[in-house]
Symmetry: C2
Subunit: 233 residues, 2 copies
DNA sequence: TAGTGGTCTAGACCACCGG
DNA sequence: CGGTGGTCTAGACCACTAT
């Protein structure tokens, strides 16, 4: 055992985390300065900084300039969600992917859609409804609005061949993305398309994306019964 | 305008991201080495490294030693979920928090709970059912199993005064956390407690936590109708 | 204003893994 | 094996903000 073995920032993070978990520093307490930790642990300050950044990202500590580093008094669970393109998701689960365009029409969006996009006034949009299938079974029903101001090329895309989901992801990167997750009872139309009974409990992923401040698209993805969104960290 | 203004790692990130978005590098393409970017942009390699780490975290590029950095051919949406302690969540929304312990009993967990915890054989657990309220209205119904092997002290905690949610978060930090999100129809019991009709669509957050490989708790948090989980990035 | 975290630099070495 | 990303160090300066 070499007492001077090089410390990686993960070692430092674990050291500090254990000190917090053991109760040496209570919630709300102020921790030593990075420089002091560096001296105590015999490593560079930037190594401590890297460790602290991770602890801060995990929601364990709060850092403020001049205010120092404190143990978060109100811990939060933080987890990374990963939502792939639907085709990939189906294929990764070993299913055969299928896709049907249901409807496509230019229209003026209702107030709810404008609000989701952060638009004060209605702007022309393309509404696209489509069904994604796994092994021939309904998988996700998508109800999408695409901004024609931001994405005029979408008019020329053949959405019977390629889903708007896929085209947008590959061709229209975004700089901001909001997600809303909730449950709704199946309306009669959605129930028929998803092969379930009206009123069934359905999981919904709503997503809106922007490039800078210009809205690209907002979509309501309604999953067939049994769908789960999973994360681990 | 100084053409040699110091570049921050965010500037570098934006520079590289824009180069990718503009199509200069297509999905699957290999990017220049960090050192080359550093030379091109006239900054230190570690600055490029910091920028690349962020792009990698965002799912825009993939990095491998010796393999170099490539534009991800299969973009994913990544978003950070934040789930606070329920009391905090209610208070932050401006509500008055309330809490009722419904039931508490030691029991042998069914197979599903063991599986969620990664247990091959059943181990003694404490089952706790409780209702969280906002302004007196049902907010979240929680059905929790706590490992008595890992957390024996829980026997001595007065769960009528403080929710297991809160006690565990403050006293039992975890090293791993799995989340599962889905929708279910309300069973009659849950419907009554949540003040809704049987069969109503309810949003569920299932969470299992471990310390190292020892399970701490697994909980099914059933939200009252109207609940939304929101994230932004 | 002074103390703290945040970042940049330049250089070095290490760890991983593709050819 | 050699090329690439990952990390550590030491030092400097900057940016924010609590006191």
């Amino acid at each position: 055992m070499s007492p001077d073995a090089r410390l990686s920032w993960k070692d430092v993070r674990d050291e500090i985390r254990d000190a917090i978990l053991s109760g040496r520093y209570a919630p709300g307490d102020r921790l030593p300065r990075d420089a002091d930790f560096a001296a105590m642990l015999n490593c560079a300050r930037s190594t401590v900084q890297r460790a602290m950044q991770d602890l801060s990202d995990s929601g364990i500590v709060e850092r403020r300039r001049k205010g120092g580093t404190r143990v978060r008094p109100d811990p939060v669970t933080r987890a990374m969600l990963e939502i792939p393109v639907i085709r990939r998701e189906v294929e990764q689960k070993g299913g055969r992917y299928g896709y049907q365009l249901i409807r496509q029409a230019e229209a003026v969006p209702p107030a709810g859609i404008c609000a989701a996009c952060g638009l004060a006034a209605p702007a022309p949009m393309l509404r696209v409804e489509a069904l994604h299938l796994s092994d021939g079974q309904p998988y996700i029903l998508e109800d999408r609005w695409i901004s024609l101001d931001t994405v005029p090329e979408i008019r020329a895309v053949d959405l019977t061949a390629q889903s708007a989901n896929e085209w947008l992801v590959l061709n229209r990167p975004y700089s901001r993305c909001d997600l809303r997750l909730y449950a709704i009872p199946a309306e009669t139309g959605a129930a028929r398309l998803l092969g379930t009974a009206p009123g069934a409990a359905l999981f919904v992923i709503e997503r809106t994306t922007w490039i800078d401040t210009a809205p690209i698209t907002t979509v309501r993805a309604i999953a067939a019964p049994g769908y789960q969104l999973v994360t681990q960290s």
